[in-house]
Symmetry: C2
Subunit: 382 residues, 2 copies
């Protein structure tokens, strides 16, 4: 790719991503879906302007994913997890277990190979809480007990989702024996535990060094180098690189420099994450989806819905609007997309299955705020 | 390049760039030279870890150059240029004309082909004022009349340097006739004039649209898309892309959103410009410099010095410390580096000549603050 080509295509990518995002925002729908649709327009499915296989786009998209997970980790509060309480743990754990189990089961029933079935189940697990949080905020519900349960559960299921990703990426290397899964689980837990445990001792010292650097941009360059190395470390431990970026974000969220880091990393993430979402959309080949697989997609959608709604509705707690909690947990997003992307680039999923899965994720994300808007209007904030 | 490789090499690039930059800063020498040396360490000359020919690094380095020139344009005040006055115009114009003319002449004398000789002259023209400004600031001289002359002249010679680059890139396409040079000069002036003229009418409206977007990061994505398109436009007009980025920055520096733009673009530039400087250094092949060409390099260095010192010392104005002005104009940097990089990638300069030129630029930048520090200590601020 010549630099001219890169200039033109990157300009188009940014304009389409933010243009579609803006249209969706104005229609009170999630901007992320708009960016995915920008990708569908520019990619294999339609205009064929952006080729996701080109090295530079591929690398920038992966950088976007890493930055996204780093930001998610940075914004997460480990204390929130500790405070999450029974309701969040119930909703979070069951809301991961049910979609995973039934997604896997139905895929096997539809004659998918075991590994592919596991990945399909995994994609359905993690809630993307950003969309829900924004709707709750607009309606003045952000400080409600329901919102607390949702936020706690979403943090928990992000972690569980990444744990599943870590396990599946290890399993992908050939072994699907029960023993191997247990071993991968332990490796993933060990990586997160050790990197955060050791990191918590080293980072205060490291931050002190970085803050005292006098070179322009040296502090941020240091932070970026740190999470790139964490991503690499995760990869060397047999996990996905984003798990390392997430752990690094989590780690730095505990330091006094959190706001300082955010101020410099957010513009970079704002530039790079559109590459991720647009390339995700561009990789889709809508035309390859066979009409017969629509049935499978609808069943997956039902599992994605019920797998989050049921645990919430069955929550053994009184005085909470369980319906709001259930609907709030519906949107799937970043973690599911990252898992789908991983499956595609590692040839675990076909283009057709990948396209189908991303469509299912998009639907959950589109429908949840619609129902939420409607439900919250019915039940005014206290 | 695999993503793992990219992660590791990018982390190394950032750590080396800022590490060397920091060492130079602590020694009161320009950090930019430190970043170039980081490149020499990591590149062809020594460790061979970073291959500047790899597409992704190449593209990120070019993005770094574009962002650098966009930032320079953004920080420039067109009113400063208007207010520059006789002293700045004298120092700026002659300080471009002399190094260019004598650099060209001596290169011809050393049997360089005509086009290569023109480029060598061009590389020596533009002052990099950042280093001087920092020394002046440290010594409390930034508000002095000398500083005003230097800043005005430096702005002027950046513009003249880019104009020379624009002309040379057109000439490079084959024609070196006098008529063609005049035509290229007019095209370059027209591009700058028209893009700024039309831009000044359109940007207020465009900024109004961008400011009202509700999507996260949409404002900055719009600004980035704008200067990418400007760069492309410049390229289509036969100029170098950075000229377009510079014009775009100049344009946006006039809007009320200048600070807002800076806040989001600076972190991005901080991330990408190290790629430019490190790749600039990595492209050098120190080993290819022949011992005999050292004489040529020393003559070039003398021209680089005298070409800026003489116009200042001969300035027909009283009551100014002309020595300070002359030394302040010595450092060459970004614009010269961009011109060198252009010559290398377009096969106008050989690796050996490129390496030689970058070394000459590095020396001007290293020595200027040393002399300045010494001279300013002798003459305390008023």
């Amino acid at each position: 790719m010549t630099f001219n080509e890169f200039l033109l295509k990157t300009a188009l990518l940014l304009i389409f991503a933010k243009g579609c995002g803006e249209i969706f925002n104005r229609l009170r729908m999630p901007g992320v879906v708009g960016e995915l649709i920008a990708g569908i327009l520019l990619g294999y499915s339609l205009l064929n302007v952006i080729d996701p296989a080109q090295e530079s786009f591929h690398i920038l998209a992966e950088m976007g994913a890493i930055l996204l997970l780093f930001e998610i980790g940075l914004e997460m509060d480990i204390d929130d997890l500790k405070r999450a309480g029974f309701a969040s743990i119930w909703v979070g754990t069951l809301g991961v277990a049910l979609p995973f189990f039934f997604g896997w089961l139905i895929s096997l029933a539809f004659h998918y190979p075991p590994l592919e079935a596991l990945f399909i189940g995994g994609v359905l697990t993690a809630t993307s809480v950003g969309i829900t949080a924004r709707v709750l905020q607009e309606k003045g519900w952000l400080k409600s007990r329901e919102a607390n349960v949702i936020l706690g559960a979403a943090v928990l299921d992000d972690v569980l989702g990444l744990l599943i990703l870590s396990i599946l990426t290890s399993v992908e290397k050939g072994n699907i024996s029960f023993l191997y899964i247990i071993r991968s689980f332990i490796v993933a837990l060990l990586f997160l535990g050790l990197s955060i445990g050791i990191g918590l001792r080293i980072t205060p010292f490291l931050m002190k060094v970085l803050v005292n650097l006098r070179t322009k941009g040296a502090f941020y360059a240091g932070v970026i180098a740190l999470f790139l190395l964490f991503s690499l470390l995760a990869q060397l431990a047999g996990l996905a690189p984003i798990v390392g970026a997430f752990a690094c974000g989590l780690l730095l969220s505990r330091t006094e420099h959190k706001l300082h880091i955010e101020r410099g990393i957010t513009p970079l993430a704002d530039f790079l994450t559109p590459f991720f979402f647009v390339i995700m959309g561009a990789q889709m080949k809508i035309g390859t989806i066979s009409p017969t697989s629509i049935v499978f997609a609808l069943i997956l959608l039902a599992i994605a819905f019920l797998g989050k709604l049921l645990p919430s509705l069955l929550l053994p707690r009184k005085g909470l609007s369980k319906w709001i909690i259930g609907v709030g947990m519906l949107p799937r997003g970043e973690v599911g997309l990252v898992l789908s992307a991983y499956s595609l680039t590692h040839n675990i999923l076909t283009s057709a299955d990948y396209s189908l899965l991303v469509l299912v994720l998009m639907f959950t994300t589109l429908i949840a705020p619609l129902i939420l808007n409607f439900s919250l209007r019915e039940r005014p904030a206290h």
